[in-house]
């Protein structure tokens, strides 16, 4: 499977619709402190299934919805969509090069819903689709800010868990 793009709306500081292309090779993301770089990383974690608000620096899951700014009111809905490209064997079947979009949506006070290409699905369907891809939300394939030294500083069993999620 390939992960090809990320689209956000109403997610943390990205209140306006935003699209990030995930092209082959290396893509740098830069900007001053507090401008939203780690929020993009959180969006990726979230759409890949992150279940814990703490894993996204929040106290409750509604904390990922745009809370407003000096000039803009808060929103009640946040959406993040992840573009994927086959081959994928299941539960969604995609031929090589065939594209689909996983969408996670949260409504304030009502929790998250999931869709693949507009069709309602359950969180575990998305989890299965990505599990093979070693790209789950808690995987070491996302190394959060301040986390890289943990690979060395953890106990053997913690280290194994950290690294296994990437393999």
């Amino acid at each position: 499977v390939q992960l090809t793009r990320l689209r956000l709306r109403g997610f943390k500081s990205f209140c306006d619709p935003t699209e990030l292309e995930i092209a082959p090779g290396t893509t740098g993301i830069v900007g001053p402190n507090g401008c939203g770089k780690s929020n993009l990383v959180d969006a990726l974690r979230w759409v890949m299934g992150e279940g814990s608000p703490k894993g996204l620096r929040g106290a409750e899951m509604d904390d990922v919805i745009f809370a407003g700014s000096a000039a803009r009111p808060p929103l009640d809905v946040a959406e993040v969509a992840l573009g994927v490209q086959g081959p994928v064997e299941g539960p969604l079947v995609l031929a090589p090069g065939e594209r689909a979009e996983i969408l996670r949506r949260i409504v304030r006070g009502q929790g998250s819903t999931w869709r693949i290409d507009g069709r309602d699905v359950r969180q575990r369907d998305v989890h299965h689709l990505l599990a093979d891809a070693a790209a789950g939300a808690r995987g070491a394939s996302i190394v959060g800010q301040g986390q890289i030294a943990l690979v060395v500083d953890s106990r053997p069993d913690e280290r194994r868990r950290l690294l296994e999620e990437a393999a």
Binding site: T27, V30, S38, L40, V41, S69, V143, P156, L163, A167
Partner: protein, 162 residues
Amino acid sequence: ARERLLAVLAAVEGHFRRLFVQLFGGGRAHLRLAESDDPLTAGLELEAQPPGKRLAHVSLLSGGEKSLAGLALLMAFFLARPAPLCVLDEVDAALDDANVDRFTALLAETARVSGTRFLVVTHHPLTMARMDRLYGVTMAERGVSKLVSVELAEAVELRATA
């Protein structure tokens, strides 16, 4: 399943030992399963000795050395078993310039060999310079993030202003 796991770990170990020497310019490192347990659940023990130093607990390594060893281990996993995506959020924060240089060279090589796509959040101009492309995140309107494609010169500029 046990054989497959041991095979993957052997591949990771091979890459890790080589990458450690590449990043540290020498020395040696070792990754192995904790002896007493079932390989399917045993912990992963790590030893690392930078060149010219004597081996002791890895906890005694410096902040930069721990980052570098962690990155060698991470890249070893991607070489042994490529994943479609890897996201790195400021993993170069503790590295001095010489080590940023070695790390970014390794990153570029791993991307090429494994086909893994990398998203790399960074404040470091040397890292930016090695990326295939750059996106800038700005908050021209306070509290509202905006994403925009940028060139290297603009990217370096972005980090210096706020």
